[in-house]
């Protein structure tokens, strides 16, 4: 306990020192870099970390980027402070430790797992069934291909012709095999890798979309759930440890919560003023949006409600009954964004993974035997 306290204090001191260094030395250096001077290594770091800076620096004033630099430091400090508080609470408050431990120990029944696996496969197929069409279209625009993330690091070119067909067919096949319970662990991993890689190709044309964010997160974690299920079944356990399911739920909830926090941290109270929302509505030019932009009261109430909805969404993790409010509200939220601004779809892809908050045993029980996980007798 004493060592833990010392580590926490050391982190707190480091945090204060880092903020002081930023204010006295790093901030003026960043400002100099943005004005075309400053240390070369910092310039390389800034343009390397933020490639869009090259385009945006010619469009926006230096103050805009300095506000962003301040945000980075503020957010890093905020996350560090929350982490230190969490660690201290874990070390010193027994009831907090018990609550956190029990949060990670739900159990998943085998029919629920089968239902979740099939529902997830259907959601994933609904996401990527048309990627072949997009990939084929983008192949024509290959000169504008700017590979992101690992594609850029590994210098992977945009695929052509038969490779596109092979990759897209393999992705759909792997997802189906996972749903059919044929080597589900392997195909969960293979399909997750292909989903992430193909999506990276689609996002390598100057714009990264968030439409599939929650599905992507679920894909990254799902192989761990399948592994736990297979090993639990092999050992003849009565149920599956559900920590992976909780992690998927945190990822979904996190997407909403962080969206809300972005609005609060970047715009603050300005986001609640009718002007900002009215402008967003009128820019998109949808008939409903244009009508709404002329209603000042609604232009204040709707963004306020949207931010509250996003920031309070994590309640579904701690108060399961609240999902009967937040999940339908989520469906309505995405539908409204589509209706007013023409962004997304009537049934947004983020909604397609809401089933992770429900018991899907009913679907698992409907499946034919070969699609159900076989539990060893003990």
């Amino acid at each position: 306990m004493k060592a833990g306290r010392i580590i926490a204090i050391a982190f707190a001191v480091l945090l204060v020192a880092a903020v002081a260094t930023y204010l006295w030395w790093l901030r003026p250096s960043i400002e100099a870099v943005l004005q075309g001077a400053g240390p070369v290594w910092l310039s390389n770091l800034a343009y390397g970390l933020y490639p869009r800076l090259e385009a945006e620096i010619n469009r926006l004033p230096v103050d805009f980027f300095m506000a962003k630099a301040d945000q980075v430091i503020f957010r890093a400090g905020l996350v560090a402070a929350i982490s230190i508080s969490f660690s201290l609470a874990w070390m010193h408050i027994g009831s907090f430790r018990d609550s956190v431990s029990s949060f990670w120990k739900p159990e998943v029944s085998y029919p629920n797992f089968d239902g979740l696996r099939v529902a997830f496969a259907l959601a994933a197929i609904a996401c990527c069934y048309d990627w072949y069409g997009y990939m084929t279209l983008y192949a024509k625009a290959a000169p504008f291909y700017e590979p992101i993330s690992f594609l850029g690091l590994l210098n992977i070119p945009f695929p052509h012709g038969t490779f596109i067909l092979a990759y897209c067919s393999a992705l759909l096949l792997f997802i189906m095999l996972m749903a059919l319970n044929i080597r589900p662990r392997f195909f969960a991993i293979y399909s997750a890798v292909l989903f992430v890689v193909l999506q990276a190709f689609l996002f390598s044309f100057e714009k990264l979309d968030h439409h599939y964010a929650t599905v992507t997160y679920a894909f990254l974690i799902f192989p761990f759930l399948v592994s736990e299920a297979k090993l639990s079944a092999k050992r003849g356990q009565s149920s599956i440890p559900g920590w992976t399911l909780q992690l998927i739920r945190i990822a979904i909830v996190g997407a909403y919560f962080l969206s809300g926090m972005e609005k609060l941290l970047i715009s603050g109270s300005q986001w609640f003023l009718s002007d900002t929302f009215c402008q967003y509505l009128s820019i998109n030019g949808r008939p409903v949006g244009i009508w709404l932009s002329q209603q000042p009261l609604l232009c204040t109430l709707l963004p306020t409600g949207a931010v509250l909805f996003q920031v309070l969404f994590p309640m579904v993790l701690f108060f399961p009954r609240s999902r009967w409010f937040f999940l339908p509200a989520g469906v309505l939220f995405h539908f409204s964004v589509w209706l007013m601004m023409g962004i997304g779809a009537p049934l947004h892809t983020w909604v397609w993974v809401y089933f992770f908050f429900f018991d899907m045993s009913w679907l698992g029980k409907l499946l034919p035997d070969f699609m159900k996980i076989r539990v060893a007798c003990t």
Binding site: A55, L208, R235, P241, L247, A251, I283
Partner: protein, 135 residues
Amino acid sequence: MPMAESAMPLFWKITVIIGFILMMLVPFVLLRDIYPFFRFGMFAEPIEAQVSTERFVILTGANKLPLPPEEIGLKPTLYEYVLRNHWYRQEGRQLLNEVSKIDQNRHEEYHLAKVTSNSVDATRDTIILISHRRP
């Protein structure tokens, strides 16, 4: 039947949980996507009341007709980003050169234009930024 017991050692389980949550937070802290982890900053920026929005288009031929995005293999949403970013990176000439090679219609002239519209007085201006003539 034995109760649910994790197949993964506790250390790895905690590493996966903390690692994943931290990776979700990194884009939030750094204000940029670190694919496959995302920053959810859409609609976070405030908009000034007297705003003028800008859009970029490619116009073709002497009549200056807009080039449909699909002709160069892009969705309309991506088309706008590709044009805008090339212009602000001062790569407008390379952009038009590539477009003239990709476009099957083989127009004689390609122009990169900026359309500025002001939401307050509902005015709209189109400015030709760069022109390219097929050699």
